[in-house]
Amino acid sequence: MELFFQQLTNGLAVGGIYALIALGYTMVYGVMKLINFAHGDLFTIGAYLGLTLLTAMGLTETLGPVIGILVLAVMVMGLVAIIGVILERVAYKPLRGADRLAAVVSALGASIFFQNAVMLIYGARFRVYPHDILPKVAVSILGLEIPLIRIIILATSLLLMGALYFFVQKTKTGTAIRAAAIDQGAAKLMGINVNRVISIVFLIGPALGGAAGVMVGMYYGQVNFTMGWMYGLKAFIAAILGGIGNIPGAMLGGLLLGVIEAMGAAYLSIAWKDAIAFVVLILILIVRPTGLLGERVAEKV
């Protein structure tokens, strides 16, 4: 039973990270119908920027671990958000009127560019987060020893997701984002500045991805310039699982994928872990082609 609960909490923590990255995919897809393949690399950039700020500025030493990490996360989110907006201006905006395929190719190019830029700036070696930022404490919950960092990660990702949900559902800008996702043309006629909406989406998505990057760095301590590919792929699957374009879907998909993976590894063969996750994905998509929470779009001809 201990294995079950350990793996459950572990799966939820990893799933929270997947969900944060998946939100970036799903929001961009919702508004622009574009798979932003460079998103995984924005996550990598977040992880590396976090490392730089942490070691160069010594935030955790001057401000204490909790506030230091908070400030760090906010700074990284801001910086990655700026990179995200620049990416949109340079790689996607000029192609707004072009075929959708052109933007996908541009996204792949941006991904390769970012990956190699990180390699050239930081080097090809693995980089390591300082080991002693957070005290290595295990919290005892109902007789279960859970590492503190795991709880912090899950709590932070849930908090960020909650904030995003509130923002999208309850604010005026959020309503504009939802409107643009349903029909860009109609949204324009209603007086919504669609260009601004796209910019906002490219602020929020990469910011969440950057936060996920810092979390991975803190959780596992090790970052590498190719790490964005693996996480990007998993998060993309999570977004599809939940129904791409649907914000709560990405959250659910991410958490679910994390738990499925962790359980598969614990109770079935570890070597088959990825295969299991993909079989589950295929089964769900056979039953619900639009994903778990994806809306069925009626097309009128």
Binding site: L3, R125, V128, Y220, I270
Partner: protein
């Protein structure tokens, strides 16, 4: 007037090009195929640094057959398809031989291309057994083979007195081959049981599930055949879950970054098998190499695999020097039969008639409390 100056400019340009051409003809070109990008980029970049350094040293001493040695580097991206393109490109550049590359599957994609062009290839990190079983006359490697390592691993486990062994690999050709070899040999051994055998997914970063499953099988030691990033993370996660079991790593864990990733506390008492690094050899060749490497790059060379590419370069240039020829047939024949116990960066170098390196190369290392790799007495 304008016409005249244009004419003289063109003339100067032509003369310069011609002289450059002469300069090019005056060098011996040696190819280096290595992963400068992709997930093995750090290995490839080390390879480039080491081979360039050795070439510079050689040129400073008067070069080869009275000519300078020029290194032509080509990136294989750690990927078989890129490697095939890279091999095609190098083959048409008039090289006297090629050094590289790292991964077995990557080398395999380039083997036949170099063979078709009759170019000597000396791989440095490709340990898969089958590479030298193809009867390719001009293929060599400075690294040992996987079956050799399997034998040494089982002998080490036996010597250390362990009875219940867990074997874990990562499904790559290399790690799986080594794990299977060790499992096969351990099955023939009466007093050692393999209590756990499975694979994990590299790059995943979260190995808690595997560690827990392994712990449930109650092994008294774990033999991990994969690479150093995963080994480092597992050591760290193992410590965090308070599981105190000794780990033995295969030769792909020999990288100083292992300690960085795991942290000194977790890496302490980790054992691994590896060919010796130059730091542990007391030959003048190793000492000189270390001195000039430190002078140029202000660091110690990284992994042993990159250093083995330096050995490939030394073997090739020695063969060219002693045969006074860059004819691949003569040089290959020399490497197969006449090159005996050449002092290299990782010990004495000779090749057998298949192109494999001769001699038992593996040593046991232990990580001490300061994170240093300590060579264990034989």
């Amino acid at each position: 007037m304008i016409g005249k100056s244009v004419k003289s400019m063109v003339l100067t340009f032509l003369v310069l090009t011609f002289m450059c051409g002469l300069g090019w003809a005056g060098t011996i070109k040696i190819g280096l195929m290595c992963p400068l990008t992709g997930s093995w980029a750090s290995e490839g970049q080390d390879m480039e640094q080491i081979v360039e350094l050795l070439a510079e040293d050689l040129n400073a001493q008067g070069g080869l057959l009275g000519k300078d040695v020029e290194i032509v580097v080509s990136d294989d991206g750690g990927d078989p398809r890129t490697a095939a393109l890279s091999a095609q490109r190098l083959s048409t550049m008039g090289i006297a031989g090629v050094i590289g590359t790292y991964g077995s599957s990557v080398t395999e994609a380039s083997q036949n291309i170099f063979d078709d062009f009759g170019i000597i290839q000396i791989a440095n990190g490709s340990t898969a057994i089958r590479l030298t079983n193809k009867g390719l006359e001009k293929f060599f490697r400075t690294c040992p083979r996987d079956d050799e390592q399997g034998k040494v691993a089982v002998k080490t486990i036996d010597n250390m007195g362990f009875k219940r062994v867990a074997i874990l690999h990562d499904n790559t050709t290399y790690a799986k081959g080594l794990a299977e070899e060790a499992k096969k040999l351990l099955a023939d051994n009466d007093h050692i049981d393999v209590v756990f055998y499975d694979a994990m997914t590299p790059k995943e970063q979260d190995y808690n599930a595997i560690l827990m499953k392994m712990k449930a099988a109650k092994p008294d030691m774990v033999f991990f055949t994969g690479y150093y990033p995963e080994a480092g993370l597992m050591l760290r996660q193992k410590m965090e879950m308070n599981w105190n079991v000794p780990f033995l790593g295969g030769d792909a864990t020999n990288n100083p970054q292992l300690v960085e990733i795991a942290g000194k506390d977790a890496a302490k008492d980790f054992y691994f098998l590896s060919p010796p690094v130059p730091q542990d050899l007391d030959t003048p060749e190793a000492a000189n190499f270390l001195k000039s490497y430190k002078k140029k790059y202000n660091a110690e060379p990284g992994s042993v695999w990159a250093v083995l590419s330096g050995d490939g370069f030394l073997a090739l240039t020695t063969a060219i020097k002693n045969t006074k020829s860059t004819d691949p047939d003569k040089v290959a024949a020399y490497l197969h039969t006449k090159l005996k116990d050449m002092p290299g960066l990782t010990g004495k170098i000779s090749f057998d008639n298949q192109g494999d390196r001769v001699g038992d190369l593996y040593r046991l290392y232990r990580v001490d409390a300061n994170g240093a790799f300590v060579l264990q007495p034989k």
